[in-house]
Symmetry: D2
Subunit: 381 residues, 4 copies
């Protein structure tokens, strides 16, 4: 446990290593957060929920940090409004790294002799920090990818594996009752619990993800101009944001490029398309005469295909499983309070840390967001 804790803490810092100090500070859009904030917030979590409660005589690193680095935990105290995070030049990155070192050291010490009732919270803390590692990648990409100079994050960063892309094929899944939810013994989030039966009709699901080449066909066929392919809210989104392509795509001298963490490059038609919103995924599926899977279908079929490079859009709203109850107190705010207005994504992505994925994992976003490494898997019948 101590070992895992230290590895996770270091990984967070390693993700930031290629950055210039200035990159830690900015927040170009309300949905993203400055890397500096992620570094501090994940540290605050340990301080707030574990050290201040279970470490004898623990002295907080700074009296105002609980106010500054709290996120959505309305019950803990006031919050610095999410969209002002990018205006906070202080504390400095150096001060936050000190804060991290201080808390990491105190936690390491606590973990040598941990009260058994804390185990669950520590698991949450580790998984919480891993979730922010994922967000660090997506937010860093947003920061660098919206800079007119298109700075490279890491020339060796591969946004997709070089494994051969499977040819499109559909596997058939028979009608039946399927068990949904996490049944293992390792950590999982409360939103995966409440294991239950789900009756599914027969369906077919693709073994591969939609590629850039296929998505370009949709674009060239006028996909962004045909309201009949879109949800009503999706069409409003296209018009209001003037969307004409996935995020990070740029037409330069007549040629589609995309910004990746290794720099600006040609769009590779064989790579899986990514940075498309739920609305775009659904419109593409409609255009192909198919549909997105539900999260139940995805989970039931997940042994039959390879996944893990792209969070995959589903046509399921993020809602509680039958029998789900929010845990009491501030930790109860972790998942339950977001169970409205969002759609479920399944799988994992190139930004997901090792050991932080499983087939029952439920990620969730508002349907108009593009900044995740997401993708499209199709379903029919």
């Amino acid at each position: 446990m101590q070992q895992q804790f230290i590895v996770v803490r270091q990984h967070t810092e390693n993700i930031c290593r290629p950055l210039e100090l200035e990159d830690y500070v900015v927040q170009p859009v309300a949905d993203a957060s400055p890397p500096k904030w992620h570094l501090a917030h994940t540290t605050w979590f340990w301080e707030e929920f574990i050290l201040s409660k279970y470490a004898n005589g623990y002295k907080r690193f700074h009296p105002r940090y609980a106010f500054l680095f709290n996120s959505y935990y309305d019950s803990v105290g006031e919050r610095v409004l999410r969209l002002h995070r990018g205006n906070m030049s202080r504390p400095t990155v150096a001060e936050i790294m000190e804060y991290r070192a201080y808390v990491t050291e105190k936690m390491t010490h606590l973990l040598t002799d941990m009260p058994p009732e804390v185990q669950g919270l520590i698991d949450i803390g580790i998984n919480h920090e891993q979730q922010h590692q994922e967000l660090l990648y997506t937010d860093i990409k947003y920061i660098l990818g919206h800079n007119p100079l298109f700075p490279v994050y890491d020339t060796n960063f591969a946004e997709q594996s070089t494994a051969p892309v499977p040819t499109e094929a559909f596997v058939h899944i028979p009608e039946g009752l399927y068990t949904i939810g996490y049944t293992g013994k390792a950590f999982s989030f409360d939103n995966e619990h409440a294991v239950h039966q789900q009756h599914l009709g027969a369906f077919s699901i693709s073994t591969g993800l939609v590629t850039n080449g296929e998505y370009l066909e949709f674009m060239n066929a006028g996909g962004y101009d045909n309201p009949l392919l879109w949800h009503s809210d999706g069409w409003s989104w296209v018009k209001e944001k003037q969307v004409i392509s996935p995020l990070y795509w740029h037409k330069i001298d007549g040629q589609w490029h995309r910004y990746s963490l290794s720099g600006l490059e040609f769009v590779n038609p064989e790579h899986p398309v990514t940075h498309i919103s739920f609305y775009e995924a659904a419109a593409f599926a409609e255009w192909r005469g198919m549909r997105l899977p539900t999260e139940y279908e995805w989970e039931a079929a997940s042994e039959r295909f390879t996944w893990g490079q792209r969070w995959e859009h589903t046509n399921s709203a993020y809602l509680p499983y039958p029998g789900y109850r929010k845990p009491p107190g501030a930790v109860g705010e972790y998942n339950g309070k977001f169970m409205i207005n969002q759609m479920v994504l399944r799988g994992a992505s190139v930004a997901t840390p090792e050991l932080h994925s499983r087939k029952t994992y439920r990620n969730f976003f508002h349907p108009g967001l593009q900044w995740q490494f997401n993708g499209i898997r199709l379903c029919k019948k």
Copy 2:
């Protein structure tokens, strides 16, 4: 059929009878429409989808009305933006009544000798007009209820039946596979089709609706001040809109009043609470340590309780049933395009026209809307 058509057309006009001419014109909020617009739009539907296609030599009443009274049918043509409907003083109410008479007469004639393939569209037209009858009531209430003079619509209009309110009791529904969707032979919407099996765990559901008195307890216990009871988006909604009570409630001289279509009155603690958003319904349920039913639970249990005065909030997102496919063309826009970002309501309300309700009917609204005659039924376990 001809008879039913005429009855429906007349009912639409009857709903407007108590209005002053000025009331037909205004649109105090983007979500509502002027009564004048409802009168014209329901007429346009017949003209656009039936008369102009199936009535030999049909001459449109006015060349611009297709543009003016189209609603969400993006594929038919340009639209007058929804939020400008209340700025259109012309055509006048008298002109729209002429338009109605003209189309009703042409339709009546067509119905004497109707091509059989039109039957389905006529059913849709009738149900479409009935949906707008419901909206006429809610929009008229919004218009009058937001006027500082609180004008009476009809002193005899009862927003709830005088039948004794059932004492709160919970009925138990056993685990099992339940058939969901419309299996009868009368008209139903495409979103109720695709009949399928749904596996449900055991649960208990209340036979009565939450009353004003119970809701006042929630208010008095600080329900609107406790973020832990609310969804994250719900809490933002409360703060941004400064909501402190159901819609149409006014504290006057220390006493809660509510505007009803029969005028301003004291809040009756025994009546079912209404004009609460999904967010409020969910927060109330959380406060009571219970939850809202899913739409499947509601449908499975619906024989066990009385319903029909309030559209009832469910915790189900409005999504396609397994196997659902949008019908082709503009009529395909009817339901499918709205299957995102909305929650399902089940039942019917005092505004629902006769013969326009059934247990499989799926209504849907964004979770922050209060202007429907909705209500709260609780579930536990």
Copy 3:
């Protein structure tokens, strides 16, 4: 006085005579008001400032009207927010006409035996109502001109006189000290008082107004595409509102048309251009290598040219004359509180009632507004 009062009251109602009842109700933009509101507000003014104070035993027509028809007079009481005026279907037009008749009758009676100290207020009331007559025309034009059916207000309404347009000529005004402000004995507003000396350098001013034909040259020369011609805020206005022509201009089948109160018509190149904002007037002048006059120059030169069909843009901000003091109380809010962020217009327009113009009159609007019958007179040196 009594006679003048009655004439003014009738003229207000006459302006509305060609309207359909529905036209009285709507408010398509926050800057305009529904005709119904103008009818009531001008009546409220008499009730609030004269009848309720000077008519013995006067009984207000309705207890809530002071709340409903108050405008900007923050010190009198609460206000119904300006942008909700168009949502008020009640009181009805008929009720407001009753209100008018009631107040007109009481006032007529009071005027037979008027306390001498009221004279000044009555002058203000008459001039106040005349200002709203002007606004009635501009707001009616906005309502009808933004209706997709382009309804005619009055086929005989001439937006410009048929007198021959003067050929462009410039008259020279010598350097000197000029007296500015109203020195006569009839009514004038406080903002014209504080007569003072203004030193002006020599300048030349055009005897004619810029015509549609000249303005079309500006448009065809790319005037709306060249940021160097515009104020910084003006350029933002052009971009944000996507302005490409004066208000009410429509290019139909390749031909410029304009909506006038007598209906849609071809743009007549010899008529004076109108419905252009200050920003457009200033950009046009810049393009011509000239400038707009200041209000002092305009007043000093006003005997040398014909004016009265168009309010004329000046390059003067609406500020107090030296020595100006706001009158005490609510009437003091009449002019002084608007002396910021607005530009002065001089002259009068086709919408101005008889006897309501003089060379010292100061009208004022925000620089981005187009809905007045305004125009451009040029100055050089």
Copy 4:
């Protein structure tokens, strides 16, 4: 000239010396800019208007910087939108300091053998950089003063001199013709040229500025709650922004504090009030039964009082002097394009660099801005 150039360039950098690197990056409000941007933009000015035109074989430091650091000069090229400046983590501060060194060196070389026709542009460049020095102070204060940790900029920075505050006294200025505008031989801006005569009535003007103590009296007398004291737009501003005190004031434990560049401190009742908008200054004057001076009165009286610590609000709109013509080309955008919707401030402030003030200098801001070191001087009669 070379010497002056070097001193100015160094002063810009010196102002930033106390900052942490993170402070260079952020932009907490659209009206402020990141210090990094000021450092680069002032450098770009030299490169764009002088080096690229007059230095033989000059090679731009970076091909994209003209795009990134252009400000309002619409005619030079595209602009990075003003409100995205704070999202640009690259170029880094180190890169911008290199850019500065490169341009300073090239300029220094050019200045040893300068073509005479460049003199005027160099004067503008120096004064332009000095204006940004002033903005650096105000923007740094905004950045630090809006940080919840209230970091100190420089413990020795005095926001006001320790010279004794003059007791309030009014000096009388007689009626007459006064010469307005710059008549000297040193550099001045085009907006001060076009020297002309202005006729002024007699008036009295205060020799001292309004103090915090006096302003507290206004606050305690309900100044922010009385609409009769405010312009209409000012009252909307108070309500919308919920203003209850000058900027940077905080009531802590019942005691008014203010953030200054030397840290959080008690409000000193004897210091001149600052960080109040034009609206607040005008409301205060109204409350005192006095008024703000016009810019002409200020200039005519300026020998009679001490000024230089606070930019002083006037009741004059920022408009061209009689005979003013915009210079041709991009430099012509410098002043003329802002001559709308802004009010003139006169004097200078603690943030103004040495040699950058004179009695004819015209500064200008929108009336709702508080972030300048401004102040109130009163006038009567």
